[in-house]
Symmetry: C2
Subunit: 110 residues, 2 copies
DNA sequence: CTGTATCCAGACTGATACTG
DNA sequence: CAGTATCAGTCTGGATACAG
């Protein structure tokens, strides 16, 4: 019986950049659809909706509907999602270091 | 002037799961094309080649050609690539914990 | 406000073949 | 061994429109 790769396992749950960026935001606290739509620069409603559903299905996020008019929906982290904080933190640290020490000293397109 | 998001910066350089899986392997030591082709389950020669080129262009990988017959090419980490180790490590840790404590069970232990 | 539905262009894959 | 080239079929993602 073949042992599963832990890195691949992780990537099966956060398999695109949108999920990483969504997590980045919700790690700071519960967020609404409209907020995420603006905060996750470049994402379409379709992709946001789809990724939120997948993350809810995978047990990373909780979805709470407030019975109000106009509609109010909040996405928050489950314990499983919260446990991903170190992954996002490591990316944040790396990105900060890159922006401070690397970018501009090399020719990399953004 | 708007501050760039470090997480998004990171995701601009490792923007798909192939790169993560390639990094995972090369972090253990220099690897050859054929090894990666087998190790990164599901990747095609085309995608492997493409991603290796992009990572080399972005300064993450070094490519070394040994003047031998048959050809021998080795991919290794640059310092910038090496600095990504904590990101992969955090994913590895998370994946291990997930496989041990979450998958197949209802209860989440954290 | 919070999404769904639809169309379509481009990205990706697998297969196959071929080169140095 | 280490790729590149090409084709066809599939899937993803963006744009747009619209609904509850």
């Amino acid at each position: 019986m073949k042992k599963q790769c832990p890195v691949a396992t992780t990537m099966n749950l956060i398999d695109n950049k949108w999920k990483i960026l969504i997590l980045r935001d919700i790690l700071k606290g519960p967020k609404r659809f409209g907020f995420l739509k603006k905060s996750v620069v470049g994402i379409s409603s379709k992709m946001l909706s789809q990724n939120l559903h997948e993350m809810e299905r995978d047990g990373i996020l909780n979805r709470k509907v407030f019975p109000e008019v106009p509609p109010h929906v909040e996405y928050s982290l489950s314990p499983l999602g919260e446990s991903m904080r170190p992954i996002i933190r490591s990316m944040e640290k790396w990105g900060n270091n890159y922006l401070e020490n690397v970018k501009g000293k090399q020719q990399i397109k953004f």
